[in-house]
């Protein structure tokens, strides 16, 4: 038990270190922008006084290391700075009205929406892929197995927007079952919200199910040659029981790992899908900010995406250690 805790703490420390280095990478990348934020905001006709004022206001006259420490300590306390695009220009030229949109204010509701989308997707995708994977392993090399193999390979290698538009075509335009635009607003009932989220969630499900299902099938089939499976078969157990009771528990480690990795993949896939369905999530905000070069928002979104990605990978790591006795008790 002692060693398990030590391993987990080790992984956690490593994850934190990675996140720290990633934050440095993001900050340095953003600071490689030519010129100055102040110049970028005001454009060509800026007076030197105005530029100087903004520079002071944003703290750009300080050395990069001080700025980095300020940014990081701010981010740790939930203060991610002010958005450029939403900046109150009056405040920059002296007449400060005190009203500003902070990045945190912008991100918070969208973060919740994205999490909701990811949760709905996971609720559909994980059971479906597990069942399909077990069935494919049970009827391996049959017509069913080959058909699912080809279908999942097709859906895994199609771009997200292709799947999204095909789904829109069939489920929203030709048979108006679900709305093709997901306008989520405050005060929606849960059912209404679920209905608007369902189409993007289905698209993401198609993207991630394939990988999880194939890994489930491969993990189970890998075990079927083991002597103890042979034993269970010779006892006269039904093939379904052999797989569910004997093969599945031992295949759990790679399956859990691949589920966590795919949830991490969801984070990347979410960007394109949110843009297609105009879903008000973090991905959409990120792309919009990239287009108008709203640096603080880009920085913050990047940090959140990276943190979620690292966290999920870490979870995959720790869960696979916990579910494998050989890794739990290293020699």
């Amino acid at each position: 038990m002692q060693s398990v805790i030590r391993i987990i703490l080790q992984r956690l420390g490593l994850g934190l270190l990675t996140l720290f280095v990633v934050s440095i990478v993001i900050f340095t990348a953003v600071n490689m922008l030519p010129g100055d934020f102040a110049q970028a905001i005001l454009g060509q006709g800026a007076t030197p006084a105005a530029v100087e004022s903004i520079r002071r206001d944003l703290g750009l006259d300080q050395p990069p290391i001080t700025r980095y420490i300020q940014w990081l300590s701010g981010a740790l306390q939930g203060d991610l700075g002010n958005s450029f695009a939403q900046a109150n220009f009056a405040s920059f030229v002296g007449a400060d009205s005190g009203v500003r949109t902070t990045v945190a204010q912008q991100i918070a509701p969208r973060f919740e929406n994205t999490m909701f989308l990811a949760a709905v997707t996971a609720c559909i995708a994980v059971p479906v892929s597990l069942v399909l994977g077990i069935l494919a392993a049970l009827f391996r090399n049959s017509v069913f197995d080959r058909a699912t193999n080809v279908t999942t390979l097709t859906s895994i290698s199609s771009p997200e927007f292709f799947l999204a538009y095909v789904l829109i075509l069939f489920l929203a335009v030709l048979n108006p079952v679900l709305p093709s635009l997901s306008n989520i607003y405050d005060g929606m009932s849960f059912g209404e919200r679920l209905e608007k989220t369902l189409l993007p969630a289905l698209t993401l499900t198609l993207v991630v199910t394939a990988h999880m299902m194939r890994m489930t099938r491969a993990a189970i089939i890998n075990l079927l040659a083991s002597p103890y499976i042979e034993m269970a078969r010779l006892k006269g157990m039904s093939p379904m029981r052999v797989i569910v009771k004997h093969a599945l528990p031992n295949a759990l480690a790679p399956i859990i790992n691949v589920i966590a990795l795919n949830l991490a993949y969801l984070i990347t896939g979410v960007v394109v899908v949110e843009v297609v369905f105009v879903y008000p999530g973090i991905g959409q905000l990120f792309v919009d900010s990239v287009k108008i070069r709203d640096i603080p928002v880009v920085q913050a979104c990047c940090l959140i995406f990276a943190a979620a990605y690292i966290l999920l990978n870490l979870t995959a790591d720790i869960l696979s250690i916990l579910s494998n006795p050989r890794l739990r008790h290293p020699k």
Binding site: A29, F139, P159, I221, F305
Partner: protein
């Protein structure tokens, strides 16, 4: 919501049908082993498959026009999909048959072992390569040529707002869409190919270098790659593209070059991992030791001793990596920060024509435009993945 009860009833019907099938089979054949040992799930599957097949055939032969005279778009799309599927299957079959009779001993043997999906993949790759190389000859017009008629509808039928000169119509500023679709093969696929090659050169050589030299260089490179891989690749690419767009300013072509470099560096981290892992297994071999004792240089070691022995895994990785790069570029273009106009490109085409999908009930051909461009992307990645899947399956030694 009357769909849910209907669906439940249908499932119950299929379940009953499965049971009847097994029971009737047992009685009719005098308990033949096929029916005696048939699990219920298999019988269920047979009935479900037969039902789906019957429904598809029935749906395929529905009239394409409703009584009111509007197109029955669902049937139209379904017919196109089925026709495409049949043509693709026949083409793949003929191509495999051709490969089995023509060619060298080696290629004949390869085609003999090939499943239909893999031969379809090879065919797709060949067709795309051909289109990309000869785009200038195949396309009826130039990719930047602007015509007087804007927003011409596809179909080439003057009565419905088309123009025989432009079979797929023109876009908002009057560019021929068929030509742009064909040129898209050149730009999108070409740029993805160049990027993948660059990523392989970078990641491969650094990975082999790390494997041969080991020590501090290996440590530094591996840790750097770890950090770069901790950021989701599309997110990182978008972040760097923000900066690149500021650097490029109004020089649009420069942005495309930056995009190639950015994606190549991000993807080279994955290649580095693989090349280093494969290289580490090779450098412990005796023949490497012998080459070192002969006093061969580092370049000779990497390119003459390690590389030839690492070709198989690297080739499969090249296919997969190409798909990833291709999809990343398409996604970036779709989001509006990738390949820049006036270059024709599929991702941008999908974004520009996406609204047409809402007209599916009135003009299926118009609605098919965004799907055509997106489908062109999907078809190539699916084809490459089919080939890679087969290669991996073959090299893994056919497990159960």
């Amino acid at each position: 919501m009357s769909t849910l009860p209907t669906l439940m009833l249908l499932l119950l019907g299929v379940a009953a049908g499965g049971w009847v099938l097994r029971f009737a089979g047992q009685k009719a054949t005098g308990n033949a082993p096929v029916f005696r040992d048939m699990p219920f799930a298999v019988a269920f599957g047979y009935i479900l498959g037969a039902g789906l097949l019957a429904f598809s055939v029935w749906y395929y032969f529905q009239p394409t026009l409703t009584e009111a005279g509007t197109p029955n778009a669902g049937v139209v799309f379904f017919r196109w999909a089925v026709q495409f599927f049949i043509v693709a299957t026949i083409a793949a079959f003929l191509f495999r048959a051709l490969g089995r009779t023509v060619g060298t001993q080696f290629s004949k043997k390869m085609f003999r072992q090939m499943p239909l999906t893999a031969s379809f993949g090879v065919l797709v790759v060949i067709v795309y390569a051909f289109t990309a190389i000869f785009a200038a000859w195949l396309a009826p017009h130039g990719q930047e040529a602007i015509f007087a008629k804007v927003n011409v509808l596809p179909g080439g039928n003057a009565a419905t707002g088309g123009d025989p000169l432009h079979p797929l119509g023109t876009d908002q500023i009057g560019r021929d869409l068929l030509s742009r679709l064909i040129y898209g093969a050149q730009n999108t696929v070409g740029i993805a190919f160049v990027t993948t090659c660059l990523a392989f050169f970078l990641g491969g050589s650094l990975g082999f270098l790390a494997a041969t030299l080991q020590g501090w260089l290996d440590q530094v490179l591996s840790r750097a790659v770890d950090v770069l891989m901790a950021i989701p690749s599309l997110i990182f690419a978008l972040l760097l593209m923000t900066i690149a767009s500021a650097w490029a300013g109004s020089e649009r072509w420069l942005l495309t070059v930056y995009m190639i470099l950015i994606i190549a560096v991000i993807d080279s981290t994955r290649v580095f991992r693989l090349a280093r892992a494969v290289g580490l297994n090779i450098v412990v071999m005796d023949y490497i030791e012998a080459a070192k004792l002969r006093g061969e240089g580092m370049t000779y070691l990497i390119f003459k001793e390690i590389l030839p022995n690492a070709t198989a895994p690297l080739l499969a990785e090249f296919g997969l990596r190409f798909c990833f790069v291709f999809l990343t570029i398409a996604s970036l273009s779709f989001l509006g920060v990738g390949i820049q106009p006036p270059l024709a490109d599929w991702g941008t085409m999908v974004r520009d024509s996406a609204q047409f999908i809402n007209f599916a009930a009135f003009s299926p051909l118009t609605a098919a435009l965004p799907l055509l461009a997106a489908g062109a992307i999907a078809l190539l990645t699916v084809g490459v993945n089919f080939v890679v899947d087969w290669m991996l399956h073959r090299s893994s030694g056919l497990k159960e």
